[in-house]
């Protein structure tokens, strides 16, 4: 479980996150909804360690945890970016195994073997040798999810997972996210798509701009 206590974050004197308290339960899906400018993305960037919080603390399974500093491979916060940010110079399989090989120091064959079930679960078997430019938006998103899962994250975060996709794909994404939940993966989803949020959420945090 990840717990946020009195988290404060401001940019240039403007408070974006004001004393936020939040619990993210293991194996559950938390959606964070709210209008643009409410600080949803900032919150996700703080949880995933891309921004340093000004004050407050994080507790991961009861232990103090600083995502900004943490280099602990046991407590990774995975991120699926809105624009996916796949590595264009690497094939799908190399995108997925790059971090396991370089960070977890797995051998290439071992890394490929270990991610096999992730690839099958996300229906990517046919695409492993292709490059990101050859994939559709939905396929890119699944590669981004697979790449994050390969690091065995404690929590998987999504920034607006439906915004870059065709509307018809929305149902597929919610199915996929619920399927990952079945597999015990804790997920945090930022979205402004209320209907989508209702479909997948166990808990919902509604944020609004700080006055």
């Amino acid at each position: 479980m990840l717990e946020l206590k009195n988290v404060v974050k401001s940019f240039n004197g403007k408070t974006i996150i004001n004393n936020l308290n939040l619990k993210i339960q293991d194996g559950k899906i938390l959606t964070i909804v709210g209008p643009s400018g409410a600080g949803k993305t900032t919150l996700l960037r703080c949880i995933s360690g891309l921004e340093k919080i000004d004050s407050g603390e994080f507790l991961l399974d009861g232990q103090p945890f600083d995502p900004y500093e943490s280099r602990d491979n046991e407590s990774v916060i995975g991120v699926v970016f809105q624009d996916f940010q796949l590595f264009p110079n690497l094939s799908v399989i190399d995108n997925i195994t790059l971090a396991p090989i370089n960070v977890l120091h797995q051998k290439e064959t071992e890394a490929k073997e270990r991610v096999q079930n992730i690839i099958e679960r996300l229906d990517l078997t046919k695409f492993v040798e292709q490059y990101p430019y050859q994939l559709s938006g939905g396929q890119k998103q699944r590669v981004a999810i697979a790449r994050a899962l390969a690091m065995n994250p404690s929590i998987l975060c999504y920034d607006e997972p439906t915004s870059a996709l065709d509307p018809e794909l929305r149902n597929e994404v919610s199915k996929l996210i619920l399927d990952l939940k079945e597999n015990g993966i804790t997920q945090v989803i930022i979205t402004h798509d209320i209907e989508f949020a209702d479909k997948v959420a166990d808990d919902t945090l509604t944020v609004k701009p700080v006055d």
């Binding site: 940010q85 110079n89 960070v103």
Partner: protein, 216 residues
């Protein structure tokens, strides 16, 4: 006019001129590419004074003629007691000048890679250098190759400027023969040799570009 005997007579001197041209070319490429990478890192660094100094350097080098720089180093600096031999003076001028162009090209390349790529590497727990090496640099290389190619072709031809400080390059060899024998033939041969040199460069650059065409 195109007398085979005459051509075979002057070819050796043209070839030795061409070898000087190639030497200047090769050392300049090596020196200025390496220096250019460091200058580019300075241009994108967050340390402002460093950035300002290198920007001024780039402005100076790109804003004045290479010919002036060459003359300045070889004929100008000795008046204040700094003397370089011809060949060294030529290499110094060319490397300093071309490094400025390469620095700008690399800077553009580095800045055109999405910042999100670093963040993607970071959330995968990769270090800055791992991400730079495995993800950023291959993308930069692909982006900058066509511009680098342009400069490489330019350099083959610019190397003829060493003529003014009395270095025996390809152009000078041709000029000497033409003045001595009062004929156009050496100039035409010199032109053909430059075409061959730039042709080889173009071919090699295409090969490298093709190597990087596997991704977009």
């Amino acid at each position: 006019m195109f007398n085979i005997n005459y051509i075979s007579e002057i070819i050796p001197s043209l070839l030795s001129g061409a070898s000087m041209t190639l030497q200047v070319f090769c050392w300049t490429i090596v020196g200025s590419l390496i220096l250019g990478v460091f200058l580019a890192l300075g241009l994108v660094s967050k340390f402002k004074p460093f950035q300002a100094i290198i920007s001024a350097y780039v402005w100076l080098m790109r804003g004045t003629p290479l010919l002036l720089q060459l003359i300045f180093i070889f004929y100008g600096l000795p008046t204040v007691g700094i003397v370089f031999p011809r060949y060294e003076a030529a290499l110094l001028a060319f490397i300093l000048n071309y490094a400025a162009y390469f620095a700008e090209i690399f800077r553009g390349g580095l800045q055109s890679v999405d910042k999100g790529q670093y963040e993607a590497g970071r959330v995968l727990q990769m270090t800055y250098w791992q991400t730079t090496k495995k993800v950023i640099l291959p993308q930069v290389a692909k982006i900058v190759l066509p511009s680098i190619g342009n400069e490489v072709i330019n350099l083959v031809k610019d190397s003829s400027l060493v003529y003014v400080i009395g270095i025996g390059d390809l152009l000078r060899a041709g000029n000497v023969a033409a003045a001595r024998d009062v004929t156009l033939v050496p100039f035409i041969l010199v032109g053909i040799m430059y075409l061959i040199l730039t042709g080889i460069c173009t071919f090699l650059l295409r090969k490298v570009e093709k190597h990087y065409s596997y991704f977009k």
